[in-house]
């Protein structure tokens, strides 16, 4: 069991983790999720006594980590891969870690077998791939047969087989009644692995609940509605009618409408009353990934912008008049995408010819505009 109470860590003026409280229960896999830079690794380091919290406390099995008499026998940790001296062989690395906590040599070979590194145990870990490095780190975590395990981004660099292996390993460890705390920025991975979720963004707790509750609370359903192509009037009319009756309507890239807040039959009725024909009316439910994206949208530290490529242009010369709008064929200027739907009626998303940069606003704006926090508050009522 891991208990954090009011955990806060500041580095100078930057607050990496703020007032974080959560409990990690035994017998479950608890996923620790958040965007890059959200404070996951900082929290992990504080749990392991590597970083001292600025305020607040965190205990493992009831004790602060640095007070544990034989830490590796109670807590195993996979830190970011390659917290390893590359000049040492895998076996010697594990041996020196094992000796620190009085673990016999036999155990080293045992865990080498468990992670499948027996054959390369004599090789210097400098030459290991990322996946092999992860396996070595996992071997180190398992050395002490601990009741609490922390994995920081364990699937990084693993191949699909390796990912399946670590997933099953964690499930097995949890089923033995151990406490498993695993951080990841991949919500899709957590959906398959975790029983419980602790979500943080910008160092603050955003959710602490079971995976099922998380989906129920944070995924929003909506309907996709499509009017016949080329009939802009119909589209506007339907939008007006739906909005009037309390629906939230947002245009999608391909000309369809995304309608939230109205049940499907009601949308159909309203369309009928407005005299609008429908080519599509389909239900959608956001996945865990989407729910997570919606939730953490405001908490992403590193956001990318569309590559303008203006830095590459010659500052002066005869070319500028036409500017950048008409380069090689096969390049579709951004403006073309959202407006007129292309010729194919059924399905026509972004890339009709070659390469089209994604239009900047639409995909993010809808969900972002409706701030996630107030909606959360509304949900239980």
């Amino acid at each position: 069991m891991i208990e954090a109470r009011g955990l806060t860590k500041t580095y100078g003026a930057k607050t990496a983790v703020y007032n974080l409280s959560f409990t990690v229960q035994p017998g479950l896999i608890t996923g620790f999720v958040g965007p890059n830079g959200a404070g996951k690794s900082t929290t992990m380091r504080m749990i392991l006594g590597l970083d001292e919290p600025s305020s607040g406390t965190v205990t493992v099995g009831g004790h602060p980590y640095r007070k544990l008499p034989n830490a590796p026998r109670q807590v195993g940790a996979l830190l970011d891969a390659k917290a390893v001296h590359g000049g040492r062989s895998a076996r010697n690395h594990l041996r020196c870690v094992a000796q620190l906590s009085g673990i016999p040599q036999r155990r080293v070979d045992e865990v080498l077998d468990v992670v499948g590194l027996r054959e390369v145990a004599g090789r210097r870990s400098k030459g290991f791939s990322l996946g092999m490095g992860q396996r070595l780190g996992i071997a180190g975590a398992l050395l002490g047969d601990p009741q609490i395990l922390l994995f920081d981004e364990p699937v990084n660099g693993l191949d699909p087989e390796g990912i399946l292996w670590i997933r099953n390993l964690m499930k097995k460890l949890a089923s033995e009644g151990r406490t498993i705390f695993v951080s990841s920025h991949l919500m899709s991975e957590m959906a398959l692995t975790a029983d419980h979720l602790v979500v943080i963004g910008r160092g603050q707790l955003m959710a602490d609940m079971s995976v099922r509750d998380f989906i129920n609370t944070h995924s929003a359903s909506f309907a996709r509605v499509r009017v016949p192509d080329g009939e802009q009037g119909q589209r506007a009319k339907l939008t007006a009618a739906l909005t009037e009756h309390g629906g939230q309507v947002q245009p999608e890239d391909d000309g369809a409408l995304r309608v939230a807040g109205l049940p499907l039959p009601r949308i159909s009725d309203l369309a009928h009353d407005a005299g609008v024909r429908l080519w599509e009316l389909s239900p959608h439910e956001a996945s865990l990934e989407e729910a997570y994206m919606r939730m953490t949208q405001g908490a992403v530290d590193f956001r990318s912008t569309v590559d303008q490529r203006s830095g590459l242009q010659q500052p002066a010369g005869p070319v500028p008049p036409q500017g950048y709008a008409a380069p090689a064929p096969g390049y579709a200027p951004p403006a073309a995408a959202p407006g007129a739907p292309p010729v194919q009626p059924g399905y026509a998303p972004a890339a009709p010819q070659g390469y089209a940069p994604p239009p900047p606003a639409p995909p993010h704006a809808p969900a972002g505009a409706a701030a996630p926090a107030p909606r959360e508050g509304e949900a239980p009522r």
Partner: protein, 317 residues
């Protein structure tokens, strides 16, 4: 994005909440009683475990083999060449074992480098996080590192100095000390009854154990500096500066008003202590001898180690 086959279920009533009633959802499944406990008994760890671990660590990296190997080659090899060079003259004008100094002056750089690397390589590679996770009693790790390194450096440097001393003794003994040298304090007690140059027991001890202790202390100081700076290049540069700069600065202090400062810089420079232990002090009338300077170095090293311990337990890793 998925297309669930059941069209009726998720009809969006209230915006964010789909069919399942969220209030009724059960909380976390109850933890299956008590959690896991390992069948293997847990031992209480102590400093001995850290010694074993650090011994494995220092043995299993190439930098140890390289630095110590080069140290041995330099001390013995340069010592041998100097002995050959001195053997051509009838009278060399220096104590019998003093030629070992020059090889050791080079060899000490290897010991200093290893001392730094023992700790900074862990910071450089991230290994320190693994180490301190495995042993949250941080002082134990640094203490074990210091002891294991010091003992290893001391034993090997003593061996290197002893081999060199034996070479010098066998190649250069049998010289007749000229009459005019009899009053020189440098040769006090080291002239046999028949007028030949010999080395006293004290000189043997100083040129082997004393010199090795001195160099190992320098290495330990380097380890402390490495633990404080946590950066290989920075710590090695600092240590080389500490060893050489006093002499280099003194070289340019020729002004009369600076004579006293210049003298102090030379007398208390790290190399001065080593030279004194080999019987060729920089100043015949120095206030402190080789062992005095060695004690001074030990005090400085102790102070820096204390600082290193304090910082290690306080700092984030």
């Amino acid at each position: 994005m998925s297309y669930p086959p059941q069209p009726s279920a998720p009809a969006p009533g209230a915006p964010p909440v789909p069919g399942a009633a969220p209030g009724a959802a059960p909380p976390v499944p109850p933890p299956p009683g008590g959690g896991y406990s390992s069948p293997i008994p847990i031992v209480r760890t102590h400093l001995g475990h850290a010694f074993a671990s650090e011994w494995t660590k220092i043995r299993s990296v190439r930098s140890t083999m390289w630095t110590l190997g080069i140290m041995l080659v330099l001390v013995v090899g340069v010592g041998f060449l100097i002995a050959l060079a001195m053997a051509t003259d009838d009278w060399v004008g220096a104590p019998l074992l003093s030629g070992g100094l020059f090889g050791l002056m080079l060899g000490q750089i290897c010991i200093v480098t290893l001392g730094v690397l023992v700790i900074t390589s862990e910071y450089g590679t991230g290994m320190i996080r693994t180490t301190l996770t495995a042993s949250p009693q941080r002082w134990r790790v640094l203490a074990a590192k210091a002891v294991v390194f010091f003992v290893l450096a001391f034993v090997l440097t003593t061996v290197a100095c002893a081999i060199t001393a034996v070479i010098h003794s066998s190649v250069l003994s049998g010289q007749t000390v000229p009459e005019y040298e009899y009053d020189d304090p440098m040769f006090k007690d080291s002239i046999s009854d028949s007028g030949e140059l010999v080395a006293t027991g004290g000189q043997w001890f100083d040129a082997t154990v004393g010199a090795a202790l001195y160099v190992s202390l320098l290495g330990l100081l380097a380890l402390a500096v490495g633990a404080i700076l946590r950066h290989s290049a920075g710590a090695i540069t600092t240590m080389v500066g500490f060893i050489l700069l006093p002499l280099i600065i003194a070289l340019f202090m020729q002004a009369e008003s600076l004579k006293e400062v210049q003298r102090k810089l030379i007398e208390y420079s790290p190399l001065s202590g080593l030279a004194s232990l080999f019987g060729i002090p920089f100043f015949e009338d120095g206030a402190v001898g080789g062992w005095g300077l060695l004690s001074l170095l030990a005090a400085v090293t102790g102070g820096m180690l204390l600082l290193a311990f304090a910082l290690l337990s306080k700092r984030d890793v």
